[in-house]
Amino acid sequence: MPQLGKVIGTIWGTSKYPGLEDAKIQLMQPIAADGKKTGEPIAVVDTIGAGPGETVLYITAYEAVIPYHRKMVPIDASIIGIVDTIDLRNAK
């Protein structure tokens, strides 16, 4: 909405839905702000260029296709940013 995730791998597939040929797809572990896992890993399209191990922001549902340069393609989750810091220190 966006949510947080950690890139844990990359996925290659030659035969993909038309229009997704050049989509870079990462394997990502959804996490909460404190780093705890919040579900099973999912495949996400990466238009930002995140690398394995990096914490990222991702978005799902209709908005996931927005960052991609083609519109009528099946994308339900995409990375929209690479996180530098999450600051939870002064939370009351």
Binding site: A33, I48, G49, I59, A64, D87, A91, K92
Partner: protein, 91 residues
Amino acid sequence: MILAKIEGTVVATQKNSHLQNNRLLVAQPVDVAGKAIGTSFVAMDVVDAGVGDLVLVMKEGGSARIIFQDNEIPLQSVVVAVVDNLEIMQN
């Protein structure tokens, strides 16, 4: 919209160009008694909410596009109000 508490901030310099202008906050959904429910997520701030604030978060992409007047913004959750007072009828 949902009730949430702001638990922190997220900095991400390398991100989608449409997300550049506003702060990203960590929002933890809470019930009317202020107890955390469900998983925290990230929301874009438009009301200068601070850490520890009780807020209203709007969680729908179409409304995010209206708020930012931008059909290319990859966003769903926006902090749209800071709650000053919450009055609940006890039945």
